[in-house]
């Protein structure tokens, strides 16, 4: 194991997170938004892993497993919602779902 500096790991996680965030904000296709959220989750998971390696503690990896399970649940619920949305509105545009005005 070569020593990769922690800063690099965290930087990567930060960049991934920012990319995900930006794409959530600018994408209108709801499936891409879901994917972007996944990227953000994984960025956070990466940050946990890096930190766990740095301190040689297992907590970070435990947290990552939590995130994985939660992400799986979230994707299933999210996909179900997307299916419903598509079924109702015949579109994947998230802005079209403003019929209830909040």
């Amino acid at each position: 194991m070569t020593n990769i500096p922690m800063e690099a790991g965290l930087l990567l996680a930060g960049i991934l997170f920012t990319l995900g965030l930006i794409s959530v904000l600018i994408r209108r296709n709801i499936i891409f938004m879901l994917i972007s959220v996944e990227i953000m989750l994984n960025a956070a998971g990466l940050a946990f892993i890096v930190a766990a390696t740095r301190w040689a503690q297992p907590d970070g990896q435990v947290m990552f497993i939590f995130i994985l399970t939660m992400a799986a649940a979230e994707v299933s619920v999210g996909l179900a919602l997307i299916l419903q949305l598509h079924h109702q509105l015949k579109t994947l545009d998230s802005d079209a779902a403003n019929k209830m005005f909040g």
Binding site: L21, V24, L25, I26, R28, M33, S94, D95, A97, N98, K99, M100, F101, G102
Partner: protein
């Protein structure tokens, strides 16, 4: 016999109650009998009690019917107190009231609301009797307001014409202004004496208040406020001429027997308080003097027969106030009684004329009625003579002469008051005979269609007799010297001391008064009966005379003044604030909440990316703030 005292006011009230409840279903005769009869029986009882009173000569009778209420030591009773002063008033109210009731049965015979009329008339007489018989000021106040209510109902009797309704409302509201002052006076009296029993107050007042003490003056002025309102004196006189909107018997009742004399009664009744307040006494005298002049001048210019009489009432009550103000108590009451006779007579005659001419009240449309209505003419002439105080034969002369004399020679009198009264007597003679000449002489202008029946004529004759004979019970002391009336009142009302230095020359002033009255009649003859000479015509037509006449005709502009000073601001204030400015504060609050709601609900657009943006911006903000040192 004195146990029947309570029946005197109770009978008219009972009559009124029966008429209100069942009057619409009764035959008209029964209504008239019930209405006039209940007052008639009251008059009979008054006579019986009066005879007993005069023979036994107690100071007073008191009868408590029940305790009205009892709170913290404040225990006014429904209790009646009869002494010489109340006796005079009760006698006039019941007797003249009865005659007016009888007359009304004829006068109102064609009216639709016969029962309502008699119910109100009975209520009126009952309230007035309550007023003069009350043994405490609160019960007096009940009668006082009751009289106001009845005047409202009767002035507005012909309610279909809105103008009558407004006249009625004006009468009620203006007298209520005075009543409010009086109510405040009652508060002070209660606070000081812990009771409103009149006799208790009168006996304790001299011990509590020294002469001229501030409280006594204040109370006297407040009571005067009430008196001025009810009696149509300056500055609250404006309702009285408008009160002519009611049927004529009502005017007779208001002006002769009830209502307007209530103020005179109140001041006479509380004479002890007024004696303690010289300033208030002076005010009473001055109000009387000024009112009698102003009202007299106004009467000169009116063309409505009833309005002339109305202003003459204001003027004559001014005389009574003047008498009370100079401390000539019994002279004031004497004039009240005589005035009740001849003013009732004049109004009833006027009513007979008006009904004979199909409700025509304008004197310019009358004329030449001397032949068409002889009885009315002679009785009216007697009444007019009495009002103008023609010397020796009329009752009015004796009563008015007394007032003139005490205004000069009484200890509180002075030359100015005397002069005012003398000029007033002169004006009275002119306007009275102006009325006689225009109405009864000259050429006939309207055809007489309804000559009065017996029911209307008999009261006229009785009152005419009283207007002459009534004066002979009290004659000046330089001839005959008869003092039946003032002796009767002696226990209740203090006598008056006369300035001895003028006392010698009383006959001179009597001659002067008599002369003034005769000259007045002669002037009226010149201007209104004989054809005017060019000189007289030029006086009458000059622009100054026209302007003065216009000013006087409008009642010296008081109506307009009050309208701009009080009525308009009140109505204006009420109208601009119709929707309640305070409510708009709350509505504003609601509108503010609603607009904030609107603004915030804009952010709930339903576009998910906006929400995300919100989250991100929020997170960045929180991070920034927490990372700042």
């Amino acid at each position: 016999m004195e146990n029947l005292l309570w029946l005197i006011p109770a009978l008219p009230f009972a009559g009124a109650l029966l008429l209100i409840l069942f009057g619409r279903r009764m035959p008209r005769n029964l209504v008239a009998i019930l209405g006039a009869g209940s007052v008639g029986i009251s008059a009979l009882i008054t006579l019986l009690i009066g005879f007993q009173f005069l023979s036994a000569r107690p100071d007073f009778y008191v009868q408590q019917v029940w305790t009205w209420f009892d709170v913290a030591g404040f225990t006014p009773g429904i209790a009646f107190h009869l002494d010489a002063l109340s006796l005079v008033f009760v006698f006039v109210v019941t007797f003249v009231g009865f005659l007016i009731h009888v007359y009304s049965a004829g006068y109102m015979a064609d009216e639709e609301d016969f029962a309502r009329f008699f119910a109100c008339m009975n209520l009126f007489v009952g309230s007035m009797l309550m007023l003069v018989l009350a043994d405490n000021l609160l019960l007096l106040y009940l009668g006082w307001e009751g009289v106001g209510l009845c005047s409202y109902l009767l002035i507005g009797f012909w309610y279909k014409n809105p103008a009558n309704g407004y006249a009625a409302r004006k009468a009620f509201i203006i007298t209520r202004v005075g009543d409010t002052a009086m109510a405040i006076g009652l508060f002070i009296l209660f606070q000081t004496f812990g009771t409103l029993n009149i006799q208790a107050i009168l006996s304790e007042a001299p011990q509590t208040w020294p002469i001229g003490s501030q409280m006594a003056v204040l109370v006297a002025f407040l009571l005067l406020g009430g008196a001025v309102g009810k009696s149509g004196q300056l500055p609250l006189q404006t309702w009285l001429p408008d009160a002519m909107a009611g049927p004529t018997p009502v005017s007779a009742l208001i002006h002769a027997a009830t209502m307007v004399t209530a103020g005179v009664y109140l001041i006479a009744r509380t004479n002890v308080i007024f004696e303690l307040a010289p300033a208030a006494m002076l005010a009473v005298a001055i109000i009387g003097a000024v009112t009698l002049l102003i009202a007299g001048c106004t009467a000169l210019t009116q063309y409505d027969l009833k309005r002339v009489l109305a202003y003459s009432t204001i003027s004559q009550i001014g005389y009574m106030f003047l008498a009370l103000g100079v401390g000539a108590w019994s002279a004031g009451i004497f004039h009240f009684m005589i005035h009740a006779f001849f003013k009732a007579l004049l109004f009833l005659c006027a009513g007979a004329i008006i009904i004979a001419l199909h409700h025509e009240q304008d004197m310019r449309q009358m004329g030449g009625l001397r032949r068409a209505l002889p009885v009315v003419f002679w009785t009216f002439l007697i009444g007019a003579a009495s009002l103008a105080a023609l010397p020796l034969v009329t009752a009015g002369f004796y009563s008015k002469d007394q007032i003139l004399w005490y205004a000069l020679a009484g200890e509180r009198g002075n030359v100015w008051l005397y002069l005012a009264a003398l000029v007033g007597a002169f004006i009275t003679a002119i306007y009275t005979f102006r009325m006689v000449f225009i109405t009864f002489y000259g050429e006939a202008k309207t055809h007489v269609s309804h000559p009065p029946g017996m029911v209307m004529v008999v009261p006229l004759i009785i009152l005419a007799i009283l207007s002459i004979v009534g004066g002979f019970i009290e004659l000046p002391h330089n001839f005959a010297h008869l003092t039946l009336f003032s002796d009767l009142l002696q226990p209740v009302l203090p006598g008056i001391a006369v300035d001895e230095t003028i006392g010698e020359s009383e006959w001179m002033f009597q001659l002067l008064a008599a002369g003034v009255a005769l000259v007045g009649v002669f002037l009226a003859y010149l201007f209104f009966y004989a054809r005017r000479t060019a000189f007289e015509e030029s006086i009458a037509r000059s622009s100054l005379a026209m302007a003065i006449r216009q000013f006087w005709f409008s009642g010296w502009g008081f109506d307009k003044l009050y309208d701009t000073l009080f009525v308009r601001p009140f109505v204006y204030l009420a109208n601009i604030n119709k929707n309640d400015i305070i409510d708009s504060v709350y509505n504003g609050l609601a509108a503010f909440a609603r607009s904030v709601n609107k603004g915030l609900s804009q952010t709930q657009s339903g576009i998910m990316r906006w929400y995300m943006m919100g989250v991100v911006v929020g997170a960045i903000l929180i991070l920034t703030i927490s990372l700042l040192p």
